[in-house]
Amino acid sequence: MNAANAANTANTVNAPGAPDPSDTTDAAAALARAHSEDWARVVAALAKRFGDLDVAEEAAAEAFATAVERWPAHGVPPNPGAWLTTTAHNKAVDRLRRESKRDQKHKEAQMWNDAPQEPVGVVEDERLRLIFTCAHPALAMDARVALTLRMLGGLTVAEIARAFLVTEAAMGRRITRAKSKIKVARIPYRVPAAEDLPRRVSGVLAVLFLVFNEGYLATGPDTDPLRPALTAEAIRLTRLIRTLLPHDGEVTGLLALMLLTEARQKARVSATGELVTLGEQDRGSWDAALIAEGHRLVRERLDSGAAPGRYQLLAAINAVHTSARDVRDTDWSQVVALYDQLVRVDPSPVVALNRAIAVAELDGPDVALAAVDRLSEQLAGYHLFHATRADLLRRLGRSEEARAAYDRALELAGNPGEIAHLTRRRDQLN
């Protein structure tokens, strides 16, 4: 298992853009690349063949461990993906023989494996089946997240545990329980029927958005360096789903939203670890390549003419923000118009709060404050409600009320970067 960990660590450090293994003798780079590109494919092919996620996961881990030992000494095989799939397949067969449960397992495999035998690793949408199984609505949300990161992302249980601040044993139990439910309750290993697809895809996207936000929101001086890796992993998996479901507008929307958010990551936290608001960020340090890609995806959705869903609207709002070289150049009427559309799709109080923040720029803080105060009952326990009120009251010169609102926001805030920002703002009041 140590060797498998090494492969995973290499992947985490060196995920995208690793050199083509045919151009290099660097086995570590080839391993990192194979892990990033082939892990999910190997697990999915084995899950299909053996009808057992446990067998698939362990055999894939063993195959990568073998590669860690062999490739540096014997050279990288000409087709690393095929080598890994074959090796993993042999490991799985060995394991089933060893456990001498072959007959029983094969019987179970037959029940899943109703399609004729295809060459392993050829069928592209096996990864898609795996995604829908891992993100099945009959599993608890935290289990879906963990299982998706393990089976699709290839993160180790230890890495997932660290990212979600739980012990490795607790995370191991969470994943084992989910795998056991899939097997015993017979959660099917297949892409849902067309009529269920939009609902099920939105379940998959919810898992990926949660992974992304987990990495994004908690970034701060005291958090584990692995947490930002979650945003990269969420983007990678969303890219994968976009390859598999290229015509789903919400998949494209979520990818664009993640890219446009990730692009501002560096500007979001100051050298002292304080959170920097959108208006105060150094826009020169935004990632131009990510923004260009995000804008291209948003344009693609606009050109489609189809009615946008939640993620597409959020991506469009972020596209407006990232189009302004200076915060004063922001097209606030466009932002408010997009929020108006979003409120119709998602009438939650948090969306209404964000709309009010844009309204403050368009119609003034007094109009925005009236809108915010209408949410006071629903959002009383939400720190950003109080932080938004505090900011609007400050801009209206109502310092005493602003101070009380900052105090309430600080009581409820958990992120150290946000606390530093709110404290400074409160202490600037006269």
Partner: protein, 107 residues
């Protein structure tokens, strides 16, 4: 594969005539499609009796072994190829009997 589909309620009392008609129609469909194994409605927990004969004497007590706000009031045993299939049936069943259902695989 068989699943136990339990009917959960917090309201004592029988199904209304409309609910009963919908349940009968649902059961007819289950039988026609080969998903029917068995089904039954139960008396409420106030009519239950617990017996424990693990010791020297059989001890009989009145009342349910677990007191809770929600309780079991009926069940189906359904035959279905996988969880998605039985969940689809259970969704229709929940609508028919107008109550929450819990689905569990039978081992």
């Amino acid at each position: 594969m068989q699943y136990l589909v339990s009917v959960i309620t917090d309201q004592p009392g029988l199904a209304t005539p409309e609910e009963q008609a919908a349940i009968t129609a649902f059961n007819t469909r289950l039988k026609a499609d080969g998903n029917w194994v068995f089904a039954a409605g139960l008396a409420g927990p106030d009519l239950s009796t617990v017996i424990d004969n693990r010791g020297a004497d059989a001890v009989v007590t009145d009342g349910p072994f677990l007191e809770s706000k929600e309780f079991l009031i009926g069940f189906w045993v359904m035959e279905a190829p996988d969880l998605d299939a039985v969940l689809e049936l259970a969704a229709a069943g929940s609508k028919a009997c107008n109550r929450k259902l819990e689905v569990r695989p039978i081992l």
